[in-house]
Amino acid sequence: MTDIKTGQISIDDLENVQITIGKIVGAIEKKAKDEGVKVGPTPKPGISTLRSWDHKILSRYHPVYTPACDQCCYCTYGKCDLSGNKEGACGINMAAHNARETLLRVITGAAAHSAHGRHILHHLIDLYGNDKTIDMGPSNLLAPNTLAVTGIKPETLGDLEEVLDYVEEQITQLLATIQVGQEGGAIDFESKILHGGMLDHVGMEVSELAQVSSMQMPKSDPDTPLVEIGMGCIDASKPVLLVIGHNVAGVTYIMDYIHDHELDDKIEVAGLCCTAIDMTRYKVENGGKPRAKIVGTMAKELKMIRSGVADLIVVDEQCVRADVLDEAKKLSIPVIATNEKIMYGLPDRSADDPKDIIDDLASRKEDGALILDFHVLGQVGPELAIKMSKIRDEMGIKALPKEEDMQGLASKCIYCGACEMDCPDNLPIMEAMKAGVDSDLSKFEYLHDKCIACGRCDQACPKEIPILNLIEKASQKLIREEKGYVRAGRGQISDPEIREEGVNLVLGTTPGIIAMVGCSNYADGTRDYFKVADEMLKRNYIVVTSGCAAMDLGMYKNEEGETLYEKYPAKFLAGNLINVGSCVSNSHITGTAIKVAAIFAQRQVAGNYEEIADYIANRIGAVGVAWGAYSQKAVAIGSGCNRLGIPVVVGPHGSKYRRALIGKPYEEEEWKVYDARNGEQMPIPTSPEFMLTTVESVEELLPILAKNCIRPSDNNMGRMIKLTHYIELSQKYLGHMPYDWYNFVRTETDLPLAKREELLKILEKEHGWEIDWKRKKILSGPSMKSDVSAQPTNVKRLCKGEC
């Protein structure tokens, strides 16, 4: 037996040497132990390990299915008609099948993030080696999700491989259960959904740890620079290199090439979706200047391409329209695919001479190329963009219709209604056509912000009117003004910040964290999101954001002409607006909650998921909002939040996720927890009221956000603050006092000071509570006691006296 303590091991000849992955897993766990990381009961949980925790969540938050289809088409026994909760040929019923469908979508999202993580990790290990230290700024708890789930405390890039091995194994296990003839119980598909969501956050975290550590991205930096955003900020007079996607690995070579060849001022590099965000984080650590501009979200992709401004499009992975190549071709824009996940059938030119590739694309001999070698990509990208700019100018490429053609195009409309029926939001296109005939383009302009540029109307129109192009042409003035600022993604919340703010969060004196995340499939345009953030920031909530949401929040200015990012600082403090970064940075949001449990509350993190989740569920008033969520990634992120007890709201389109988790406030028995001090049951407020639900309008959303930040652990000051916001927001946006406000009152000190007398009167009159009017005290009425030292928990074993 050979024992090695330190140093590098190189194994030249493995004959008769027994090394197994399993053993190394054990070794790494042992390492954690040796470093004083006590590993909890559930490192690397399998499908069933945390099942009892899930069943606890699910006993309060009932799975509600709103099928996106009455049929199942998984196998050739089918299609099966499951309507009315019938069973299909394999015996599965509608409820279980919809849970299965949701699981499939959740693990698709988790796979997208994890596969992204695997790609960028391989790439960065190739560049910097396994020993490259993970550095996230002033933090000892670098990888909260990873540690809580796997028990592994990664310190180098190399350590992350094992983490992904685990995630991939579990995703494969879950994908297996999608196979016809596997799980039959809806409730156990639900548990698997939560498992998949949890894995997603580990996958995201790995991606983020790798890139922040290796790419000189900001590390827990509240003072990151402001980045220009909007279609209006792109300087079309320069060659424009447009990047679309989520994985910044390849484009860094382009950015470096530009910088090294002093082309920074000669070329406009702009991005769509999360690659854009990460481009603006690349090398801006310690005051670096962002080297790219942001165009916006997926809802801007087709608009931007159709504008014809780009001279070259580079795509990587995720949230890239499938028709980029076709659309670009029409406007003589070459496309370079740079990632195995999206290859568009393009010829693989990775091993070719950059000059040949540039020639073939510039001459339009080829519409595009697949380039997986980033050195080649780095050179081809900028040089081709410069070349194409000239060529396309000379060709006189015209993108949108000419002013003078607008009326004619509108006149072609036969008012068949196909476009409106096919538009995901049933936007009033025919009205715009009608007005367009009279050269009134204002109704097209009106559609611009509401339109998510999906292109379905174009596909539907029997007269082949380029509807989206009409909208965009009519909105040229708007678009020119469409510029704002986003604060570059700051990365993790640091340990000192957690130490400072943790207590306020748990006691409720900071009224809550509103995490505004997700995609751009809004029901009613982007400005809604601005309204939500503005309102909640004014009310001192911490607003955390990322990805597409973070971008859209930067597109608007308040009355003073400031964007929210200019107005609000980005520390982890009440009333701050924090852009953590791209989609994979969402792991910082759950990570923050875990860090509060770990750092403020000193809970053991490693391999101790249930206890951490239980802590968060009962004490941290955070609500996620993915108002425009459309992707499988979004539902994966949401499910990961849910397993930690963090509720998530999605906009109305989110109903197409097929499933929600909704509590029943009228079922008193379901709103109880244990007091860990003695194992006795105690009632809790009916908040969060849901784990996942849909909401129809932002006016409805705002009071819901305030209400669902209420937690059992609130002290009286905290509860008072939260209740004040709930009542005020209900009055402001729904025009009345909420019906259930009194349910959250434990004692008179929970009542908003200014309205205390008035509210006490209501409590007496309408709810029959007994009031001692002399002392202005509540004598009887509340169903809960105010006891800040109570230790609410859902987990019996965590109570004193239990195992």
């Binding site: 299915y65 709103t66 209604g417 109305p652 129809e696 009345h736």
Partner: protein, 170 residues
Amino acid sequence: MVDTTKNTQIYETWGRNVAKPVNPNVAGKVITKAKRPLLVVASELLKDEKLVEKAIAIAKKGIPVAATGHSITALMDKGIDAKYINIHSLATFLGDARWSGLDGKGSYDTIVFLGHKKYYLNQVLAGLKNFTDLKTLCIERHYMQNSSLSFGNLKADVHFEALDELIDNL
């Protein structure tokens, strides 16, 4: 009489069960015959003052109203029995025999919808259709295929006419 049953064009299908198209008089009868009907209105109502009027007129016939989204803002102090509730919660509770209704008086049997986003309501209805025995009736401008009964796709003015006729039939 307005014929509201003709145009049942759809963009996508859910399955083989689709709403039966109804005329306003039949819709009226369905509501009148219901043991305990509930009118569920939503925020799209607010986009047209006329629609608000119709909703109020229906409610005035003594039908309790669940106001989803922020539609309640238009219905307060109008002398009708309207209460705010989130529609996803409402749909969950509607299917639960243990829920005692918005007013504590027990469950509903016929649910009437007006003023909703088309895609959103169709999802909500998909849940009700597959997991409850409730009768659902959509009196929207759009054909709502996942309802038990629905108007077809109507022009705005025809829709108002139809609603008037329905109100007359209550």
